[in-house]
Amino acid sequence: MDIIVILFLVIGLFFFLGGAVGIIRMPDFYTRLHPAGKLDTLGIFAMVTGLSLYNLQHFSFEALLLSAKMFLIVFFVFLSSPTATHSIVDAGMRAGLRHWTKKKRRG
């Protein structure tokens, strides 16, 4: 059981690492949002799955409810994270920030 939990947590950390590296390396604001919004969401999903499995080790009704409560966080993040991402993109578009393209760099 512990191995599964460790696996989930390490996978989640790996996703977070990808997100952090992506935020640093991507060329412009729009492309930075891609790793920031999505990899973090999946990282939260993997990590909460792992933690709630760990919580279920001593199985009882209360532990089950607690794990369900943890999954409320996932439910909330899956609804809210894309909305936040979309709203940031929208703000950028309205402000008139141009997005980075390959052509622009060549010319």
């Binding site: 891609h34 990899l39 999946l42 979309h86």
Partner: protein, 183 residues
């Protein structure tokens, strides 16, 4: 606070059918709120259950038109189809995430990515269907919905050609099927 309820009732025509419609959405909101109270609380103390009932009643009474603004007959079916849609979506997200990870760690990342904006039109009508599709697109790595208006026109920022080609495709079909709309 009660004024808004009266307004809504007047708008629909104040008939018996409209009353039942709002009563049903009140009831369903109440049930949802009470279930989430139980999950949150995790205690079955009578006092806390009473407080939960009162709180759920309060929220459902004043804000019943937020969760289910229009009560339509096929909600139960939509709910179950939506539940079956979620695992497919999560699987798509996981698949696409590895692609994005590969991009993020690739040394010549700037040669691989090719950000551009695509526009496509769908025939989705209801707000909730459009929102589901837009958020699914945003959750799938590689694409972010920039705008989605009520006519069903989507503008999507894609990070490379590969993720852009997948749109709208299967996801639109699945969402349309979930909400029972024509493509």
């Amino acid at each position: 606070m009660t004024d808004s309820n009266n307004n809504v009732a007047k708008k629909v025509g104040d008939t018996r059918a409209a009353f039942f419609k709002s009563f049903f959405s009140f009831l369903i909101t109440f049930v949802f709120m009470f279930l989430s109270w139980i999950v949150l609380s995790g205690k079955f103390d009578p006092l806390l259950l009473w407080l939960g009932g009162i709180s759920s009643f309060f929220v459902a009474y004043y804000f019943y038109d937020l969760l289910f603004p229009a009560m339509e007959p096929g909600y139960g079916k939509v709910f179950f189809r939506f539940i079956s849609y979620v695992p497919w979506l999560i699987w798509e997200i996981i698949k696409a995430n590895f692609h994005l990870l590969y991009l993020a760690f690739h040394p010549q990342m700037k040669d691989l990515i090719d950000p551009h904006i695509i526009t496509f039109k769908t025939n989705l009508k209801s707000d909730i269907a459009i929102t589901t599709l837009a958020n699914s697109i945003t959750l799938t790595p590689g694409t972010i919905t920039v705008t989605a208006d009520s006519d069903g026109v989507f503008r999507v920022h894609a990070i490379d050609r590969e993720s852009a080609d997948a749109l709208p495709g299967t996801m639109l079909k699945k969402v349309a099927k979930v909400f029972g709309e024509k493509i």
